[in-house]
Structures are given as structure tokens and as C-alpha cells.
């Protein structure tokens, strides 16, 4: 009995020796699988980031369109409901406020027509920069930024879209202006 146990142990010693011979193979396989896993994680995250980016771009484009036709900014003849896209009223530009803008264009602050935005849904900044040669210019800079120091951090994700608009003062005086919309951390909490 003892002899047979010894002989079995001898067989198992060979097995242990075999395992140590395969260590280089194990290392190779581990490195190979690890490399592949890392590349797959990178590929998936890149793909997701691209889709998020395109969604954000479409969203900001749609919001920009809404602002360009929003009655709170567009010029309207007295007694007429007609508005021309991209033709703003100088008085409406002067008295533009973040409260009115968030209420009039709820999508801008992360809400919708049926679901008004909460104060910290999304942070935005809208700038109307009058670039006309007239001495008096009608510019506006409205935002719902709570913490300006955080916005200046370049790590904060943001998207900006620029468009060109007109600001009507009267029938003889029409200014040209840059409309610039920046949305910070789309889909996230406000900053």
C-alpha cells in the first residue's frame, strides 16, 4: 500500500513540474487577453462618447432654432402675430432676462413645454453681440450660472453654437449680431 502511495505521489510531482513550465504561456495569455479587453473598453467608450456628442449637437441646434423664432425676442409688427426667423426686436434684446428665457424656451434649461425646468436642470449662457457700425449697440448676455468659478474650469463640458441674426431698431435701422449659445454639461446637473 505504501509503495503504491509513493508511486502516485511521483506522478503528481510531474504534474507540478508541468504547471511551472506553463507560466510563460500563462503570462502571454494574460497579457493578450488584457490587451484585448482594454481595447474593447476603449472602443465602447469612444462609441458612446460619439453618440452622446451627436445627441448634444442636435439638441443645441434645435434649441438655437427655437430661440431664433421665439416671440420673446423676435420682432413683430404692432397687431401682427407674424415673426421673421432671426429678426429680433431691439427692446426685447435690451430687456432679455434668464428668467424669461428659461420660461419661454424651457428646453434651454433642461425642461420641456409640459415639464418646466428645475433651477439646476441645465446651465446655459446666451450672448447676443451686436457687431453693427452704429454707435449704440444692442447686446445681451444672459445665463443661469450659479457658480461662475466652476464655469471657467476648462474641464467642464460645454457646447457652443453660433448663428447670425438681425436686430431691428426701426424701419431705417437694422443691426447685425452674433447669437451665441453655450450649454454646459448637457444632460447633467447644473453648475
Amino acid at each position: 500500500m505504501k509503495l503504491s502511495r509513493f508511486s502516485k505521489r511521483k506522478v503528481s510531482r510531474l504534474g507540478v513540474a508541468g504547471f511551472f513550465e506553463e507560466i510563460p504561456v500563462l503570462i502571454l495569455v494574460t497579457i493578450g487577453v488584457g490587451m484585448f479587453m482594454v481595447s474593447m473598453i476603449w472602443a465602447i467608450s469612444t462609441h458612446n462618447a460619439r453618440y452622446t456628442d451627436i445627441e448634444n449637437v442636435h439638441e443645441i441646434h434645435d434649441i438655437m432654432k427655437t430661440i431664433r423664432t421665439w416671440e420673446g425676442l423676435c420682432y413683430q409688427e404692432e397687431g401682427s402675430a407674424n415673426r421673421v426667423e432671426g429678426l429680433f426686436d431691439c427692446h426685447k434684446v435690451m430687456y432679455l432676462s434668464a428668467t424669461n428665457l428659461s420660461r419661454g424656451v424651457p428646453e434651454l434649461a433642461g425642461g420641456s413645454a409640459t415639464n418646466p425646468p428645475t433651477p439646476a436642470s441645465r446651465t446655459y449662457r446666451l450672448r447676443i453681440e451686436d457687431t453693427s457700425p452704429y454707435p449704440f449697440r444692442y447686446s445681451a448676455d444672459v445665463n443661469n450660472i450659479i457658480n461662475p468659478s466652476k464655469i471657467s474650469d476648462p474641464k467642464v463640458e460645454r457646447k457652443t453654437m453660433v448663428s447670425s441674426v438681425n436686430i431691428k431698431v426701426n424701419d431705417e435701422e437694422i443691426h447685425v449680431a452674433k447669437l451665441e449659445l453655450t450649454i454646459f454639461r448637457l444632460g447633467g446637473a447644473g453648475v
Binding site: 500563462l26 490587451m35 449637437v57 453693427s132 457646447k159 447685425v176
Partner: protein, 213 residues
Amino acid sequence: MMKNKWMRKRKAQSALFDGILFFLLMLISTTIVIYYTASTQAPRTQSESQLFLREYCEDTLTAVLAATINDTSYIRPSDGAKVILEDQSVEELILEDLYIRYENDPLSPANALEKLETDISSLVFELTHVNQTLLEEQKLYQESFHYRLYAEYRANSKTVSMDLWDPTWQSGSSTKTEPKTVISAFKELEAVNEHEVNRNANATVYLKIWKNQ
């Protein structure tokens, strides 16, 4: 005993060979994944991006043509008198410019329309160029654009044109050329009949924009 040892060596070699083969397969797979991910175009395709830019270009042309300039002037070629124009729209000013060129071809003095054209060009420049502070932000239209505003007036098989280039584009060279890729928008100017010289006359204005390449 010798045979057993030889077999053990062979076994180890075989395992190493399998390991190397597996590693190579993983290496090839990784390379394919990285190459495919890097080379696949972003979901925002080229055409979609071009569409947004074209929209921007059209909006800019519309805004420029509708805008008015408070004070500009030109020298009347017939008598050299200075003609002052106040609160005229850019569309009207372009037509005025083209009409003067049509009536006085070749234009004399050559700089008669210089002030008028500089004022129009400045308006486009201010609109299409972004402040340095704004460039720091991650923008969809990331940089300032260069532009070319070109207008043509055709009547009685005669064509005259006005050609305004971004002064910062190829500023060193005397003859400017457009890059390969430009985004353009155009508009037929309807007010051309106001001149009542030739009802067959028509004018077209083009705005071309491009980024630094």
C-alpha cells in the same frame, strides 16, 4: 526515463507555441478593434456637419444683406462729388456699387467705391470673426471663418462684379484664391429693377466661408 524527459520538453514547447499563437491572435484582434474604432467616422457625418455650416452661411448672408450701415460714401465717377449714404441696407449698397460699376466701366477713379466696399467688408468681418476669449470654449463652429463676398450684375450680355475678400486671408499675396473646400450661399437681389435701366438685368450675391486649413 530519457523518453519521459523528452516528452516533457516537447509538451512545454507545445504549450509555449500555443501561447504565442494565442497572443498573436489577441494582438491581431486588438489591432483590428483599434483600427476600426479610430477609422470609423463619427456619427456626426461629414454631410451633417456641412449641413449645419451651410445653414450658418445662409443665416449670415441673410443677416448681412438685411443689415443697414449708418454712414458710408462713395465718389461719384461723373463729377467726383462725394455721395453720402445713411441707413442704407447692405443689399441696397451692393446694388448701388454694381450699378455704378456697370455705368462706369472701367471705373474711374479706380478707388471711387473704396469706402463703400470697406464698410460692407467690415460688417461681414465683424460677424464672421470670433473674439479670442470665445475661442477658448469648446465650440461647434470652433474658429473664425474667412469669407469672400462676391456679387455679380448682368445686363445686356455685360457683366460687372464686386469682389470682397477677408483681409486676413492670404494677406501677403496680391492675388487671393479660395481653398478647395468652401461653404457658400447665394441670393438673387430682387431690388435690381429699381434702377429701371434694363428690366432684364439681374444681380446675384454669394457669400463663401471657410475655416483655416
